[in-house]
Symmetry: C2
Subunit: 220 residues, 2 copies
DNA sequence: AATTAGTTTTAGACAAAACTAAATAATTGT
DNA sequence: ACAATTATTTAGTTTTGTCTAAAACTAATT
């Protein structure tokens, strides 16, 4: 597998992760900042290696073989992210770019030993699940606060908006990654949400609630 | 810098590491398992970027700029080797191939943090020195036992011959990487050497002495 | 000084992965 | 239903790094 092939496989996986419809050439091109014609070429090549199922004008879907390749790349990406945050003290929002490079390192032994070194983590620093060697993983349970019902409880694992202003707001309100929150009350009128934290209850506006991800603990 | 350019720079560095003569096109080709014509093409390209000094038919030498690039790649390679051995429990002889991939990861922050995480090591698992950020490093003090005078003391950091038979011999005689040895006596007649180890003195043949590297501690 | 053996460079070609421009298929709005 | 729009593919180039084969150079020998 070339680096480029791996990147296409990964992109196709992510584009079909939720809606399991076939993926459009244009969507891939846009995501990868390349041109649709380049996508067509590569998709033909991947199809010949039976990594994707492809028919002209019909979009693509990963084959089972392709899906396993994608999951092995994602496994590597997420394990490296855990390493960068837990062992090298990177902050959660700096790791993606470096992990995009590290995910292409080819060595099964390396990944096995890294996994062991990290204590077989189940999720990466953004709360996304880490597939095991066989591509098996628990569904993501990462949700925006605004999507959760009263009573939900979870660990804050990420933000949508990483502007300086927003991060400053979080800091001021003593909200940090890794904190555990519980949804106490949802105000129907304006969508604001009251959450309880270690340091007491606070009310956050709808805008904040649509920018904070929790990883829910009591779900499988 | 492309991956390929980095590999050429590194190879040229190693070929001129000891004899500071200019490096022959053929030598580079042989080392890199490529053809002399390919080397010429690349060397022209590197010359245009003033990474090497090159005149037709005269061989190449790294420029100061090129030397610093080489040292930064070597720094990365050796730091990753330390990581693989110290943190992931790879054995000293498995790490080179993986480190050849890891050395190309581009992130200054990553290398700084890795360096700190490893405790700012001075040498890699083979006893080779690790350049600092500015390309400064202490000369290698790695020597074969057969090259050392009586009284020398050092840490065993590597072997020349990594055949199963040789490794088995070392195991049987309780010689392992990381052990400290002192040269007690050299037999002129057959070149055999008596060394003291933690577990007592043993005599090793000249053949063994020319296959074991020590890193000398009391030298600059 | 000429020959020869070995090394290095040139020239032309190829594969991979991208591109542009043009052609063709699919979809959508009226 | 069909014209207009949008999406996709085809065809032909470009770039990077490689290759082979042939030409040119260097150095050593006669």
């Amino acid at each position: 597998m070339t680096l480029s092939e791996e990147d296409y496989i990964k992109t196709i996986y992510h584009l079909s992760e939720f809606n399991s419809k076939s993926v459009a050439t244009n969507a891939i091109a846009e995501q990868m900042k390349t041109k649709p014609s380049s996508v067509t070429d590569m998709v033909k090549k991947l199809s010949e290696k039976s990594l994707v199922n492809y028919k002209k004008y019909q979009g693509v879907l990963l084959s089972e073989k392709g899906r396993l390749v994608a999951l092995s790349i994602i496994r590597k990406h997420r394990l490296w992210e855990v390493f960068l945050v837990d062992k090298l003290n990177f902050s959660w929002d700096e790791v993606h770019v470096v992990a995009e490079q590290l995910e292409h390192i080819k060595s099964d032994a390396l990944i096995d030993k890294l996994d062991a070194h990290l204590g077989y983590p189940k999720v990466d620093p953004h709360g996304d699940p880490i597939p095991n060697k066989d591509g098996v993983f628990t569904k993501s349970v990462k949700k925006l606060i605004s999507e959760l019902p009263v009573g939900s409880q979870g660990v804050c694992v990420g933000v949508n908006d990483s502007s300086a202003a927003f991060l400053k707001f979080l800091d001021k309100n003593k909200i940090a990654l890794g904190d555990t929150f519980k949804i106490m009350e949802i105000e129907e009128f304006d969508g604001s949400v009251t959450i309880s934290t270690r340091s007491g209850s606070i009310r956050i506006s709808k805008q904040i609630a649509t920018n904070l991800f929790l990883e829910i603990v009591d779900e499988e």
